[in-house]
């Protein structure tokens, strides 16, 4: 195993835990409580909901899976669409891993491969920022503490959502079902600051809605490929003109 846990490592681990137990856990919780209820609505068992959360660990992909399954899309199309929705993990782990590795030279490849599974948008954004003013030797422990809380909170909230949907009155059930889509809507529109992000947002939404009327099972893949490529081309043309 790697070096024995020193007081600095324990402290970094605890710091990671306490920094995740706040806004990050609450924001993930809101998303996953809605996911749990949508999954229950789609016929998932409690175990399938919890396993999907741990195994996929990417809320957009988990929603794509539910949505395409409801539309009876082909298996290959579903897997491809879920995978594309998670493509952002490649640049994320590309940039995160060198920072994690810098202070953990004694660690093995499998440990980094395992660490990659618990990376999420939230952990990536927070740890990339925090790693800059942190001793490289304790980053690994901070990352573990932070990621464990994020994953744990999401699993607990997904479970609550799954169990609540059957216990709540109809009105609250409608609210719970809208929670996650609403959360993503506000996040996507609220955080679309760059020109390419706004273009991709508009192109993707428009393509999905047009294709939904023609070939619903392909609308999400089409939104990604057609809408995304259109946004990319428009963005490059704009960048060249300047």
């Amino acid at each position: 195993m790697a070096e024995a846990a020193s007081p600095e490592h324990v402290l970094a681990f605890r710091t990671g835990i306490s920094e995740a137990l706040g806004v990050p856990a609450a924001v993930l919780g809101a998303g996953f409580i809605g996911y749990g209820s949508l999954a229950a609505d789609a016929g998932y068992s409690v175990w399938l909901t919890l396993s999907a959360t741990v195994a996929i660990w990417a809320l957009p992909g988990q929603l794509v899976l539910l949505e395409m399954q409801a539309g009876e899309a082909a298996v290959a199309a579903t897997v491809l669409a879920v995978s594309l929705s998670a493509a952002r993990f490649l640049p994320m782990t590309l940039t995160l891993m060198p920072m994690l590795r810098a202070g953990s030279r004694s660690r093995r490849l499998w440990q980094f491969l395992l660490a990659a599974q618990v990376v999420s948008m939230t952990t990536w954004a927070v740890t990339m920022r925090r790693f800059n003013d942190m001793d490289a030797g304790v980053r690994w422990h901070y990352f573990l503490g932070f990621s464990m809380v994020c994953l744990g909170a999401s699993v607990v909230f997904a479970l609550i959502g799954q169990l609540l949907i059957g216990a709540l009155p109809p009105l609250a059930r409608f609210g719970l079902a809208l929670l996650t889509p609403l959360y993503f809507f506000v996040t996507l529109v609220g955080e679309a600051q760059t020109r390419s992000a706004i273009t991709a947002l508009v192109c993707g939404a428009a393509t999905a809605l047009i294709l939904h009327a023609i070939a619903p099972a392909w609308s999400l893949l089409g939104a990604g490929f057609i809408g995304g490529t259109a946004a990319w081309v428009l963005q490059r043309q704009h960048a060249q003109r300047r």
């Binding site: 924001v27 999907a52 995978s83 996507l188 939904h212």
Partner: protein, 113 residues
């Protein structure tokens, strides 16, 4: 439609397809430039796909939400976004306002009809 074993297999295939990107990132880190044109394209595709997903869930949902009115869902989005901005990007305020409006609207409709 699907039996339980099919659902589990599909979920595991999706998990593997998601992990592929994570694992590639670990293996290729230090060898690929995350600012290259290819990554811009990947990020545009992923972003557009998620935007398409949310647009589809809100405009043409399946399951429970399909029993609600399109106008209510769209207005809930607009209200949540405005509340989020007015409250200086506070997600909690945005969610509470959007959901309160939505449940109120669903209730009023069911009371009238």
């Amino acid at each position: 439609m699907h039996n339980a074993a099919d659902l589990w297999l599909l979920m595991l295939a999706c998990a593997a397809a998601t992990y592929m990107w994570r694992g590639l990132g670990v293996l290729l880190s230090g060898r690929l430039n995350p600012q290259s044109a290819m990554f811009e394209w990947i990020s545009c595709v992923a972003y557009a796909l998620v935007a398409g997903l949310i647009a589809r869930i809100i405009v043409a949902p399946s399951g429970l939400l399909s029993q609600t009115a399109l106008t209510d869902r769209l207005l809930a989005c607009a209200i949540a976004f405005v509340a989020y901005r007015v409250a200086r990007r506070n997600m909690f305020v945005g969610m509470v306002c959007g959901l309160a409006f939505f449940m109120g609207a669903v209730y009023v409709r069911s009371a009238i009809l």
